[in-house]
Assembly symmetry: none
Homo-oligomer: 207 residues x 2
Amino acid sequence: MAENNALELNLGLGNNFGGHVGQSPRQRCPAPFLLKTYDLLEEGEAENSTKIVSWNEEGTGFVVWSPAEFSELTLPRYFKHNNFSSFIRQLNTYGFKKTSSKRWEFKHEKFQRGCRHMLGEITRKKCEPSVFPAYLKSSSEENATSSTEENNQQQQQQQLMEENKNLKKERLELQMQIDECKALEMKLMACLSQYMETTQNKVRRLC
Amino acid sequence: MAENNALELNLGLGNNFGGHVGQSPRQRCPAPFLLKTYDLLEEGEAENSTKIVSWNEEGTGFVVWSPAEFSELTLPRYFKHNNFSSFIRQLNTYGFKKTSSKRWEFKHEKFQRGCRHMLGEITRKKCEPSVFPAYLKSSSEENATSSTEENNQQQQQQQLMEENKNLKKERLELQMQIDECKALEMKLMACLSQYMETTQNKVRRLC
DNA sequence: GGGAATATTCCC
DNA sequence: GGGAATATTCCC
């Protein structure tokens, strides 16, 4: 019975409001990823044991000193995974840059020690909604032309480009497969001819 | 000697491809979500303790008997969360229907007991890429309109279609080449193995 | 690095 | 139920 209620509550919670309604929906509360990454650095500050991850000296970026421990110990406490590469994928999504070839240091202009309030200004890089070259995009205001058809056509074009891309990928794969086949063929041939020779010799010798 | 050859052959074969190349790239391996959900039901079958989740009597759908336990115990072993509502969100994404108001029963035509092989036919509902009704798509031929841009775009589109057609033709040719290669490979193999046998016999006889 | 598919969350 | 944002994975 209690379990039943708990269930209802869980499902029911979906109906409340976030409270952001009246505000500009953009750039208000920082993305969870940013908050977690920031917090995880704060937590590190408190410790004085071996550093796994920390702000850099100037507080203008952070360094993952031990990626292995970071992945295994830190990540799963903040995220739903323990993959360093997924973490980096997120950093890239939010526009962080790797700033050293010697260590795992990442920076973002708006991600600095002591500046939790700036996190809200960091936004995801948007995935370009279309692939059309710029010159097709710029001159789209004097369109008295029915934009629906144009959109339609753009859509078609997008599809074509997609298919095209896939076909090229397929072609590459097929070509590679052929190369493999050819290589194998050569080996087989060599093998066969070698066999024939050996046999001849053996037979000759035995005769 | 024979072993050596066998080894070489094996090495050559080791580099082969996934094999899906020539096939339609869609609808092959089932989405992880579907596999996990299916497996989680199989696992349930084995037990004869209190049922948390199971196939329905006919095997045409499944029932979550205890959502609370399911969320707390089952979900986190298969997914990165323990929210019943996230699970249901996924079910909806893949087109499952809740089929009873009295219990948490879900069905999908292609999701049935003993039919793991059908899972590949279940696809995500696509988020409609555009909002245009179908009737807008058909009427795109009587465009005498001559905005240079439109022409430009149409030209591009034409080129794309052309390239597309050629790529498909190429694909077919490549596929045929591969088939030939494969056939030859088989022949060579057969030839080689026959040779090996014959040799053995000859040598034996001569000894 | 980043595109794109899938998963998870949040909200309507 | 489902749209849409964010997260995670997979792949180039």
